[in-house]
């Protein structure tokens, strides 16, 4: 996977896993989502969640970091082989993001990336739009997170 033309619908990649510690759950939430069940163990224990859980955006942010790191590994490998590396643009957004189950302190979530659609753009010959579904599954095998994301990717045929 490199230029838009190299991508294939259905390709699935395991991009890595992450253990959400109580300390980092609270640190993220104090900055961006200071609700009691994200920042205070005692209040979280009394809540309907029964214990400290990660902000949903924390889960999304960790998934994003693993996606970026996975892409950087691939790009480094291409450069090592002396191959051209496609440019990617900013994301136009997200769709159908689901927090299906809480991510509790101590949970390990494994994330995966699957290409669901490749859309050439009528008004932009230099890039195409790749639509992917990113998922997170906890240590018990339960799907906890799912989101559809879009990325602009450079087209090989238009390069130069």
């Amino acid at each position: 996977m490199n230029f838009f033309e190299d991508h294939v619908v259905g390709t699935r990649v395991e991009i890595g896993s992450h253990t959400f510690t109580a300390q980092e759950i609270k640190a993220f939430a104090l900055q961006f989502d200071p609700q009691p069940f994200h920042i205070d163990e005692a209040a979280a224990a009394r809540s309907h969640f029964g214990g400290l859980i990660a902000s949903g955006w924390h889960t999304a942010a960790v998934c994003l970091r693993l996606l970026v790191e996975d892409r950087h590994r691939r790009q480094a490998e291409l450069r090592r082989r002396g191959e051209a590396v496609a440019r990617t643009g900013p994301s136009p957004g997200l769709r159908n993001l689901q927090w299906l189950q809480p991510v509790h302190a101590g949970d390990t979530v494994s994330f995966a990336h699957e290409i669901v659609e490749l859309r050439p753009l009528a008004d932009r010959g230099d890039v195409g739009l790749r639509v992917a579904r990113n998922t997170g599954t906890n240590q018990a095998g339960v799907l906890v997170y799912s989101v559809q994301s879009s990325t602009f990717i450079e087209r090989r045929e238009k390069r130069g």
Binding site: Q31, P34, A60, A61, V62, R65, H72, G93
Partner: protein, 154 residues
């Protein structure tokens, strides 16, 4: 604590602005979105976007913080099942000030649980010139007061 019954469709909340500095952009990116366009102004010149740009998810997280401070301030929400859509509408650069505007667009009781209801909202971040930079449509879960009162668990 605000319950499901306390909200009405059309209710608006405004919050902010919050200033986004180059350090904020780089710190978020270093932790969660380490792409050159979010990390380093010089390196970002060579990308499609041309110059240091806040991670889209950073803008979403700032929106969430304003939402919690202004709208979930008394801790009544029971979380969110998800987000219908997030659209990044314009770049956010260092020095931008972002203000949030939220509108309650729908209220419906849960079909499967009598004790909760769903609140749908649209939330937008705008920069100092009033241009929308991010818009999202999402759902929050709130407890229902009428059920809690009826069952004596309030």
């Amino acid at each position: 604590v605000r319950c499901y019954e306390d909200f009405s469709v059309g209710e608006m909340v405004e919050a902010g602005p919050v200033l986004v500095t180059a350090d904020d952009i780089k710190a978020f990116a270093a932790q969660f979105d380490p792409q050159p366009m979010h990390l380093d102004g010089a390196a970002a010149q060579n990308t499609i976007v041309g110059g240091l740009l806040a991670s889209g998810l950073h803008v979403v997280c700032l929106n969430k913080r304003l939402l919690v401070d202004a709208f979930l301030v008394d801790g009544g929400s029971m979380g969110s099942p998800g987000v219908e859509e997030v659209r990044y509408l314009a770049p956010v650069r260092a020095g931008d000030s972002l203000a949030m505007r939220l509108e309650v667009t729908g209220l419906r009781p849960s079909a499967s649980r009598a004790d909760i209801g769903f609140l749908k909202f649209t939330s937008e971040m705008r920069n100092a010139s009033g241009a929308p930079v991010m818009r999202m449509t999402a759902t929050l879960i709130f407890p229902r007061r009428d059920v809690a009162a009826a069952t004596g668990t309030a």
